[in-house]
Symmetry: C2
Subunit: 433 residues, 2 copies
Amino acid sequence: MTHDVLHALAGFAAGPVTTTGAVRLVTSLSALDWLSVGMAGRDEPVARILRQQVLDEGGTGDARLFGNGSAPARSAALVNGATSHALDYDDTHFAHIGHPSVAVFPAALAIGELRDLPLVEMLEAALIGMEVSIRVGLWLGRDHYQVGFHQTATAGTFGAAVAAGRLIGLQSDDMETLMGLSATRASGLKAQFGTMGKPYNAGMAASSGVECALLVQRGMDSNPAAFDGTFGFGATHHGATQAKDALDGLGERWLFESVSHKFHACCHGLHAALEAAREIDIAGPEVAEIAVRTHPRWMSVCNQPEPETGLGAKFSYRTVLAMRALGFDTARLDSYSAETCADMRLRSLRDHITVTADDSLTETQAVVSMLKRDGSRVEARHDLLAPLGLAQREERVRTKAAKLIGGQAADEAWSLLRQGGQSADFAALMVAP
Amino acid sequence: MTHDVLHALAGFAAGPVTTTGAVRLVTSLSALDWLSVGMAGRDEPVARILRQQVLDEGGTGDARLFGNGSAPARSAALVNGATSHALDYDDTHFAHIGHPSVAVFPAALAIGELRDLPLVEMLEAALIGMEVSIRVGLWLGRDHYQVGFHQTATAGTFGAAVAAGRLIGLQSDDMETLMGLSATRASGLKAQFGTMGKPYNAGMAASSGVECALLVQRGMDSNPAAFDGTFGFGATHHGATQAKDALDGLGERWLFESVSHKFHACCHGLHAALEAAREIDIAGPEVAEIAVRTHPRWMSVCNQPEPETGLGAKFSYRTVLAMRALGFDTARLDSYSAETCADMRLRSLRDHITVTADDSLTETQAVVSMLKRDGSRVEARHDLLAPLGLAQREERVRTKAAKLIGGQAADEAWSLLRQGGQSADFAALMVAP
C-alpha cells in the first residue's frame, strides 16, 4: 500500500497550482451558474426545511444562506449545498458522473466568508476542490457508482474538505489527516434520487467537508490510511481504486475544465435532443414531422408522450421539442407548467413528433430529423460531450443566469467574479433583492 | 424485496413497547455509566476540540455539553457522543460488536432537553434506539464489520435517529422515511481506531440521528428503500442482511439487556483475565507464580511485557494483574500511570507472571492459574459473555460511577434515573461541579 493517491491529492490540494485563463473562466462560469441555480432553488421545500432548521438553531452568522439569513459555516454549507442542487439544474462532470459545484462551492464560500478572504482565493480553492472531487471519483470508479453510491456526495465530501482546508491554511500533512477524517464522514446513496434526499446529499458533502477541515485545524487527528488503506474508504466503498486514472495529468491538466453546464430546466436525457434542435429551424410552417432518435435507456426515463403537468413536461421529448418550436424558453423554470401542457398549439404540434430508441447512439447523443412538407429532410445530431467554445459557454451561462436571477444581478455577480472583491461581496448576492 | 426489516424496526420504534423491570434497570445502569465515562472524558483532546468548535458557533443552548456550556441539539449530540467514547470505557454489545450508549444517549438526551421531556421517556426512547442499533447491526452482519465499518457509527446512526424520532413523536410511516434518510447520512470506518476519529464516529452517529429526525419532523422526504432496497444501505455497505437475526424476538426479548459494562479502565482484551483474578486471591505472600491463558488474537494487542507509561499499562496483562495484586484500582483512570509502572513492588511481581496464547479459548474468555509456594495450584476462568446478576451489575456500575464522578453525583444521578425527573435535571449533571 503506497498511498500514492493520498499523497498526490493532498500535496496538490495544499500546494501552489498553475492555472490557465480558460480554467479560471470556467470556474467563474460555474460559480455564476451555482449562484443562479441556488437562488432559483431557494424556495424549494428541501431548501426551506434545511434553512429553517439552521436558522432556528441560531449562532454566529459566519456565512450567508440562499434566500435569507446566515449561519455558522458548517450549517451554511449544509443549507447551500442542498439548495443549489434542489432543482437539479447545476453542472455535471461526466468523467465520474457527479455534480462538482454543489458540494464544493458551498464549503469554499462559507470558509471564504468566515475568514473574510478575497473572492479570487475562494475560486482557486473551489477549483482545486472540484478537481479533487472528480479525481477521487475516478479513483473510486464506476463500480462505486453502479453499486449505489452518489459520487456528488461521496467524492464531493473530499473535494469540499480540501477546498475548505486550503482556505484555512492546512499544509500537506494536515491535508492527509483531513482526507482520512473525511473518509469516515463521507456518505451518500443514489437510492435518494427522486426525493429531497438527493439535494440533501450535496449539502451533507459540503457540510462534512467544512466540519472535518475546521476540526483538523483545531488539532483533531485521524488515520490517513482511512482514505486508501486496506480498510479505507476505497476498499470499503466498492472503489476500483485506479491510481492511474486519478492521477493522470494532475497539476498539468484540469479535468474540471470539461464540466458540463445545463441549459435546459428539464431532465438531462432531453438535453442532447434540445441542443440538436438548436441547429435546425423546427419552428417553420413547412415542418411536416419531427423524429427524435435517442439512446434506449432514456425511453423509460423521459419519454412521457402527453404530460399534463410542469413536472411531466420536464420528462417529455415531444413536449420540450414542441415548446422550443413554439418559442417557450426551455431554460426558464416557469416555462414548464400545466398551462404550457394545455396549450392547443403545443398539443397539435406534439402529434407531429415521434421518438424512437437507437442503440447506435450513446447516452449523451441524440438526433433530430425534420421532414418538410416539400418532402425534403434536415437532420441534426448533438453530443453533450462535444466541447463548447469558451465564448459560447460564457454567453450561454450568463444568459441562463440572467433568466434565473435577473440581468442586473447576473452582471454584478460576473463583474465580481472576473474583477475581484471579497468572498462576502459575492455571498451578499445570495439574498434575494 | 419485502422490506420486512424496515417495516418491523420502524413499527417497533414508533409503537408501544413492553419493558421489564430488568431491562429498565439495565437501561438506567447504562445511562449512569454513560454519564460517568462522559464526565471522565470531558477534558480529553477530542472532547475539547469538538466542544470548542460548537461553542464558537454559538446558537440556542438547547442541550448541555459534557464539561460546560450548551448548544443546539445536533451539535450537542456530536460533542457528547465523541466525549463519552473518548476513553473507550463505555458499554459494549457483543452481538454486533458495537457501543450502543455513546451513539444513542447523546441523541435521546439532546431531544429530551430540547423538548423538555420527562427522563423516563428519554430512557425508554434510548432503550428502543439501542435495541434498534443492535438489531440493525445484526442485520448488517459480520461482513460489514470485518470489511471495515464501525458498527458503533453505522448501526448507531439508525439507533440514534429512531430514539430522537420517537421523542419528537414520529409515527411509523415517518419512522420509515427517517430510516431511509439516515441510510444516506450514516458512515464510519474502523480505520479510525487509535485516533480521535474513533470517538468522532460515535459523535457523528448521534448527531446524524438527531439531524435526520429533526428534518423528517419538518417534512423532509426520503426513499425508505434506501435502508434495505437493492441499492440501499445494506446492499452498498457489505451487509449480510439477515432478516431472521435482526427480527428474532423483536418486541418480546430485549437484546440490549445483555450489554456489557466495562469495569476496568484498560483494553477490553484484559478484562476477562482481570475478572478471573477477582475469583482467587492473587495478593497473598504465598503466590509463587501466576499464569494467564488468553485467546491468541490478544497477544499482539495487549501483551506489552514491561510498559513504562500509563497508556502502555492499559495494554499489558502482566501489569494490570500485578496492579490488582498490589491493590491498585483497575477501574480508576489515574491508576494507570508512569509512577505505577515504576513501582518496584509491581516490577518485581510482574516477573512472576506469564502470559500464553490458548486457542481453545474464545476472545471473551481467559484463565488465570496461580501456583502457590506449597506447590498447590488454584485456577479461575472467566467469560465476559457470562451474565452478571442484576444486583451485582448495579453494585459494580454504581461503584464505577462513584469512582469517576464522585459518590454524591453518582447517587444523585441514580436517584433521578430510578425515581424520575426531567431530562434537563439529568443533563444538569453533565457540568462539572
